[in-house]
Symmetry: C2
Subunit: 261 residues, 2 copies
C-alpha cells in the first residue's frame, strides 16, 4: 500500500494510491483512519512531504564505500563507525518530490546528493530487540540528504551544510510493502546514471539502528530514520535534476536552482 500527502486547491490530504487514484482518508495511516469517499487523480495534485516527523533521525556513515570516499576527499584516514550511533536532521529542510532544491547564494561548488532509504516508524517503542525491531516499521520512502561539503568540513555543526531549507527532499510516498532484499538504489543526474548500489549493503542494519536507538530513546509513530548512502556525488549545479530510484519503492526527483541573493 502506498500512502501519500498531497494538496489540491489549497487543501492538504492524506490518502492511499490505487492505480492512478488517490483515496483521501481521515486519520493517520499508522493509526485509526477511514475513507472519506473523496478521490483525486495522482497526476492532478501536488505531492507534499509524506510525513512531518516528530524526530528526524539520520544514520550518517552507513555504507563502506561512502566512508572511504568521503575520508579520501577530506584528506583524512577513513574511520568506520564502531556502533550504530544515530544522528539528526531538521524538518525545516524537508521538501516533497518534484519540489526544487535551492542552493544558497553563498554556497560553494561541492553540492552533493546522498541517496537514502528512509524508514518510517509506525509504533511507539522503547528498548526493542533487534529480533523484533522491524515490527515497529510502518513503511519506507526515499530521501536525498543534500550536502554542502565545504560547510560540512568547516562548520562546528551540520546546521547549514545539511539543514538549509530545501536540502532534504523526501518522497514520493510511504510504501508499506517494500522488500529491501535485492533492492537497488540508482541515482541519475539529468537522466544519466551516476551511481548504483545494493540498498541493503549497510554497515549496520535497520534492525540494529532501531534496536540500539530505542534502548535510550522512545521511537514514535511518524519518526523517520534515514539509513545513509553509498559512494559519492558529482558537484550538482543550478539547473541540474537529480532522480533517485530505489527499485520496488519509487522515484524521488528534484531540480536544483542556484539562488543569487
Amino acid at each position: 500500500m502506498k500512502w501519500l500527502r498531497y494538496s489540491t486547491r489549497g487543501e492538504i490530504f492524506t490518502g492511499y494510491l490505487e492505480g492512478d487514484l488517490l483515496h483521501a482518508v481521515k486519520g493517520t495511516p499508522w493509526g485509526e483512519w477511514k475513507s472519506t469517499g473523496v478521490q483525486h487523480e495522482l497526476g492532478a495534485v501536488k505531492l507534499e512531504v509524506p510525513v512531518i516527523p516528530p524526530t528526524f533521525y539520520a544514520a550518517g556513515l552507513n555504507y563502506v564505500k561512502h566512508i572511504m570516499e568521503v575520508a579520501h576527499a577530506k584528506g583524512e584516514t577513513p574511520v568506520v563507525p564502531g556502533a550504530a550511533d544515530i544522528g539528526y536532521r531538521a524538518v525545516n529542510a524537508l521538501i516533497a518530490d518534484q519540489e526544487e532544491v535551492i542552493i544558497p547564494a553563498d554556497a560553494g561548488e561541492k553540492i552533493h546528493y546522498e541517496a537514502e532509504l528512509v524508514v518510517v516508524i509506525g509504533k511507539k517503542v522503547k528498548n526493542i530487540s533487534e529480533q523484533d525491531a522491524l515490527s515497529c516499521i510502518f513503511g519506507y520512502t526515499i530521501g536525498n540528504d543534500v550536502s554542502e561539503r565545504d560547510w560540512q568540513k568547516e562548520d562546528r555543526t551540520f546546521f547549514r551544510s545539511k539543514n538549509s531549507d530545501t536540502f532534504k527532499p523526501m518522497g514520493p510516498w510511504i510504501d508499506t510493502d517494500f522488500n529491501l532484499h535485492g533492492a537497488q538504489t540508482r541515482v541519475s543526474v539529468n537522466g544519466v546514471l551516476t551511481i548504483e548500489f545494493d540498498t541493503e549493503a549497510m554497515l549496520f542494519s535497520i534492525a540494529t539502528f532501531i534496536s540500539r536507538t530505542s534502548r535510550y530513546a522512545t521511537l514514535y509513530p511518524g519518526d523517520v530514520m534515514w539509513m545513509g548512502t553509498d559512494g559519492t556525488s558529482p558537484n550538482i549545479k543550478g539547473g541540474d535534476t537529480v532522480e533517485i530510484e530505489i527499485t520496488g519503492l519509487g522515484k524521488l526527483k528534484n531540480r536544483f536552482i542556484k539562488a543569487h541573493v
Copy 2:
C-alpha cells in the same frame, strides 16, 4: 504574561497564569487564541512541557568558562567557536518541570546538568537581520541540557549522551516579559548552590544566533533555541534534585532517578 501547558483529569490544556489561576485558552499563544472561561489552580494541575518544538535548536558551546572547563576535563585544548553554528536536540527527550530524569542503567557516573536560557520563536522568519532578530521571539523558558559525559566523548553523535529519554527538562512556563539584562542563572543541587552566572554573558548573542541560523533555515513558531551554559556540573546521582533558577523568569526543578534495568 506566563503561558503554560498542563494536564488535569487526563486532558491537556494551554493557558496563561494570573496569580495562582490558570486561564485555559483555545488556539496557540503565538497565534490566534481566545479564553474558554475554564480556570484551574496552578497547584492542582500537572505541568507539561510548555511547547513541543517542530525544530529543537541548541547553541552548544556559548559561554567561555564552560568551553575552557569542558576542554580541560577532556584533556583537550579549548577551541572557542568562530561562528554561531547552531546544533540540534530531540523532542523524545523533553520532560516538564517536576518530572523525573531517568539515568539509564548503563550510564557512567558523569551525569551533568547544563542550565540554559531557552528562546521560543513566535513568528515564521527567514534571513532576518541581527537588528530585527529579537522581534521573532515569543518568550523565554528554562532548559536543563542533561549530559552523560563518557558517551558524549566516545560516541559519534549525541544520540544517547544528550538525547536519552528524559534528558531535556524544559519549563516551567514561557514568559513573554522576561528581561535578559541583569538576569542571573543559579543552579542548586539538593538545595545547595553549585553555580551562578550572568545569563547574558554569551559568546554569541541571541540575535546573532537567530540571524545567522535564519540565513539558511526558516524559523517557525514554536521552535526553541537553547542558548548554552556556563561552568561545569558536579556528578549528579540517583536521588539528587537539580533546580535551575533564572532570575525574573522562574525555576525548573527535577529529581534524578537511577534505572537499574
